[in-house]
């Protein structure tokens, strides 16, 4: 069992969490000005790094959405930041 740190609840089993995608993958703004390539990249392109990863996760039992820095090789978690408290990778909750 792997433990993930919910910024509110503390360490919980990974089975209580849901992956929310790469941090910083912003929805393209502009409606008709958004190209199909930009939209496809937003929907489908993933960083899939080997090593340090920066991701959005949701703790399903309490609903907390947060950013987590972890390593995809040894699965160690470096830090978790609550988006509600401005923990987005650009310093903003979004």
């Amino acid at each position: 069992m792997q433990l993930f740190p919910c910024p509110f609840c503390g360490p919980r089993s990974e089975t209580e969490f849901h992956f929310g995608g790469d941090a910083g993958n912003r929805r393209p703004e502009g409606f008709r000005a958004v190209t199909d390539g930009e939209w496809a990249a937003y929907l489908h392109d993933r960083n899939n790094p080997r090593g340090a990863a920066n991701e959005i996760w949701m703790h399903m039992t309490c609903g907390e959405v947060f950013r987590m820095e972890r390593d995809t090789v040894h699965h160690g978690v470096a830090q978790a930041f609550a988006l509600l408290e401005g923990g987005g990778d650009d310093g903003l909750a979004h």
Binding site: F8, R12, S13, G63, E64, L84
Partner: protein, 173 residues
């Protein structure tokens, strides 16, 4: 003709439903007033004289108490308050019919928690919403640390009851 009803066991009569094992006994608690409160929880707690809310495996006492479910949400039990938005900064939703409540009691509580959850019983955290045998439930102690209360979605209550029946702790099989 396809008959799906045979795949599921009928819902027990919750008023009389009981399970008993060597170290633990289980019953359903009915008629408990339950409300979700979202927003400014400190003002809600202060306004109703509730003191601190209860986290995972925390100890609630009496008939009026609050259990923390998330950063900005709690479950208020036994507290008469109108549904809807309150000017003090919180919203209230009645969920008495949405959540079924079970109460387990006995020396085997820690064994039950070990089977049903992955929670660290010595460091459970401030939030009582956790995964209990695969179901998101609200789990805390009531009156003493040998009485565990579990609130789960009503639609999953029969599954949970069947899971309890299958446990060596509670099963006569």
């Amino acid at each position: 003709m396809l008959d799906n009803s045979g795949k599921w066991q009928p819902e027990p009569d919750w008023a009389s439903a009981r399970l008993a094992g060597r170290t633990i006994a289980l019953r359903a608690v009915t008629g408990l007033p339950q409300r979700l409160v979202s927003g400014d929880l400190d003002r809600f707690l202060a306004g109703h004289g509730l003191g601190k809310d209860v986290g995972a495996l925390g100890l609630a006492t009496g008939a009026r108490y609050a259990v923390r479910l998330a950063r900005d949400r709690l479950l208020a039990v036994g507290i008469p308050v109108d549904d809807g938005w309150h000017e003090a900064g919180y919203a209230v939703t009645g969920v008495g019919s949405a959540l079924r409540v079970f109460e387990a009691r006995g020396d085997g509580i820690r064994d039950l928690l070990a089977r049903a959850t992955t929670i660290d019983v010595d460091n459970p955290g401030p939030c009582a919403a956790l995964s209990f045998c695969g179901v998101t439930a609200v789990v805390y102690f009531h009156e003493d640390t040998q009485t565990l209360r579990i609130h789960a979605d009503r639609g999953l209550a029969v599954y949970l009851w069947e899971w309890f029946e299958c446990q060596p702790l509670l099963s006569a099989r």
